[in-house]
Each structure stands twice: as structure tokens, then as C-alpha cells.
């Protein structure tokens, strides 16, 4: 593909699959052998997910998975908010959810046909060196398990890109060039209940410092025309801050607000506007943000006496 062709990048994270209000697969058989029935909040998230799959383009050039894909062990609440406790089945459930998207992501540097035909059916070869343009960043330790085990398992199943250290999941992808646009992607960002643009503003400041230092040392492979910073973790809903040629994004989660966030992080002060994910069209060094994959988060019911 030439650098003049438009490329589509999809960024999603914070699925928190198998949490009581997370994005959870439907008709999925869990470790007890039962097919999991969804509650109304999970039904809604899943309905939005199906809508999102319909709206996404047929080809997704780069998929970035930005952490907290499964809920994990929910240890602080003794697993009472989990619909599935088993981490292996949580990984399988997330892979099951993501598969319709992953199929649209091209392979990276293939030397031979990645598919084989067995009994008239086409299968992907069982080869760990087959990688798609899927870039995974590690979620919070609390959710991903030791060594990000849950997300590593997902990366292996989906044939994500491996790092030089052999891990699919990286803590921080600080300089990924897609054409002339540089991406800096990580799960974590500061969480503040007021002045919610501040963390993104600060990320832009740190970026300017880093890139200035790299420029002075002559380390930059090329001059980026635009820089996109992507962060997750805070469950603020979609937020974007622009300064010069830098765009800083806070990704929405797919999980609706639970008691931990409403009473712990946001202390009964904030309800997110939306859930979903964000896309980017990249062409000629320009970035167009696609916010068509956002869905309303349930809002307070105004009771009048």
C-alpha cells in the first residue's frame, strides 16, 4: 500500500468483559458449561457493539487494543461483580468478541500464505510468526493478572504483533509511525474528577519534551506531520484536546459506570457521556477523527416531586 492511500486505525480499550456492566459476549459458553444470559446493561453494551461492527469499514489497517480488555479477578470485591471467574474463559470471551474486527486487519510482512485448506474449509495456520497489524498495550495490573497473562493469551489467539521481548502486550507504545503520523499509545493516564482536560494537556507537555530531546539528539526517524496521543483508563467518555499538530485523546470505555468509579474515582460527581471506541483516517499526514462509534451512556433520571 502506498503512503498516499488512506489508512484506517481503530483504537479501543476498557471492554472489561465479564464485569456485570462490561461488554460481554452473547451466547457464549462459560466455564460452568452454561450459556451466559446477559443482564440489561450487558445487553445494551452488546447491542452497541453489534452496531459498531456494522459501522466500521471493511478494512481496518491498524487495530490498537488499549488494555483492560477483560475484567480479571475483581479481587477487591471478592468476584461478586463477575459473570465469569475463570481467566482462561475470560480471554476466550474477549477473543470471541473481537474476532469480527480482527478478520478485517491485514497481516504483517507475510512470506507465505497464512491459510491452509482442510476438508474444504479455510483455516489460519498455527504459526506464532503470523502477525496482524494489532498493537496491544497493557491494562491495569489489577485487571490483566500477573505478567498481563489474560491479555497475552488474547494477543496469542488473535495473532497480534509481538514485541522484541516476545510479549504481545507492551506497557507503552511511545512512537508508532503510521505514514507521517506518530502515535503514542498507553493505557494509563491520570484520573481527576475535576479539570478533566488536565491529564491530556500534561501528556502533550511531556510529548513536546520527549520529541524535542529526540530531535536534538537526532533520534527521530522522520519528522511527524501530526502526533496522536491515545490514553484510556479513566472512563471519562470520549475527550479530545488539540494543540498545534498534536491531538490527545482519552478513549471511552465499553464498560458503564459501576460503584467503584462513581464513588471511588469520581465521588458521586460525574457520569460519562458515552461508551464506545474511536477511529482515525490517516492520509498525507492528516488525521481525521471518526467518532461514529460512540453510544450514549445511561444518564440520571430526573425525578420531579
Amino acid at each position: 500500500m502506498g503512503s498516499n492511500a488512506a489508512r484506517f486505525v481503530l483504537a479501543l480499550g476498557d471492554l472489561h468483559s465479564f464485569h456485570a456492566v462490561g461488554l460481554t459476549p452473547k451466547d457464549f459458553q462459560i466455564s460452568t458449561g452454561l450459556v451466559l444470559p446477559l443482564n440489561f446493561a450487558q445487553e445494551y453494551a452488546y447491542e452497541c457493539w453489534l452496531d459498531c461492527l456494522e459501522r466500521l469499514p471493511e478494512r481496518i489497517d491498524v487495530l490498537t487494543l488499549n488494555g483492560d480488555l477483560a475484567e480479571g479477578q475483581n479481587l477487591a470485591q471478592e468476584a461478586r461483580l463477575l459473570s465469569e471467574v475463570d481467566p482462561t474463559f475470560q480471554s476466550r470471551g474477549v477473543s470471541h468478541l473481537l474476532r469480527p474486527i480482527v478478520k478485517r486487519v491485514p497481516f504483517h510482512n507475510l512470506s507465505e500464505n497464512p491459510f491452509i485448506i482442510v476438508g474444504g474449509e479455510m483455516y489460519l495456520r498455527d504459526d506464532p510468526d503470523i502477525e496482524r497489524h494489532i498493537y496491544m498495550q497493557q491494562g491495569s495490573n489489577y485487571h490483566t493478572g500477573r505478567g498481563a497473562a489474560i491479555e497475552e493469551r488474547i494477543g496469542e489467539t488473535l495473532h497480534a504483533r509481538k514485541g522484541k521481548d516476545g510479549h504481545y502486550v507492551q506497557p507503552w507504545r511511545s512512537s508508532l509511525f503510521i505514514d507521517d503520523v506518530m502515535f503514542d499509545i498507553a493505557h494509563n493516564q491520570s484520573v481527576v474528577s475535576r479539570y478533566r482536560s488536565m491529564p491530556l494537556d500534561r501528556e502533550i507537555g511531556f510529548m513536546l519534551e520527549r520529541i524535542g530531546r529526540a530531535w536534538i539528539k537526532g533520534l527521530l526517524p522522520k519528522r511527524p506531520k501530526k502526533i496522536v496521543i491515545i490514553r484510556s483508563h479513566a472512563h471519562y467518555g470520549f475527550r479530545v484536546l488539540r494543540e498545534e499538530n498534536i491531538i490527545a485523546i482519552s478513549l471511552p470505555s465499553w464498560k458503564q459506570m459501576d460503584g467503584f468509579i462513581s464513588r471511588g474515582k469520581m465521588v458521586n460527581r460525574y457520569v460519562p457521556e458515552n461508551i464506545g471506541c474511536v477511529g482515525f483516517w490517516i492520509q498525507g499526514g492528516e488525521v481525521e477523527i471518526v467518532d461514529d462509534y460512540l453510544y450514549p451512556h445511561p444518564q440520571p433520571h430526573w425525578e420531579v416531586i
Partner: protein
Amino acid sequence: MNDKGEKPTPGFSFDELQNLLFPDISDEDDLMTVAEIVELMKKHMPQITSPMIDYRLGQALKAGKVERKRVRRIIGGQQRYAFGYRKVGGGKIVDDA
């Protein structure tokens, strides 16, 4: 996406979302049996698991909506043990409590 290309909307409020996690059992005037409480929880959350039931029964106990003895029989029950938590007693879930 429906036929008109419209996006889904929640169809429930933030308050109902919160109640999904913490069902309001105080609406019931009478003392509830364990079976009634579990039934009420299942209405809110069809796939409710044993730890969730334990937690909510703890709330029910605090609210004075269940008798301590019945709650103990569930908290110390087979399912709690099956999830690998501390085994408190040898009771079982009793639907007709």
C-alpha cells in the same frame, strides 16, 4: 443499527444501572424469605453468582430484611465453598426457607 440507521439508546437510566448492582430491597414491607430475596436478585441480574448473592444477603441482613440464621446457612453454603472462599459452615441453599 436499525432500519433507519439509528444507533441504540440505553432505555434505562443511570439510577437503574446503579440499582442493577445494588438492588433496592427496601421496597418490600414484609420480612422476606431467602428464596424471595434470591428471586428478586435474579430478576435484576439473571446470571448472578454465589459471591454476589452472599454480598446482597449481607445487605439484606443489615437492612433487617432477612433473619440471620437463614443468611448464615447461605453464606456458609456449598456454592461459597465451591468458589474457593473461606468455608464458614456446612449449610446449603434452602429455597423454601
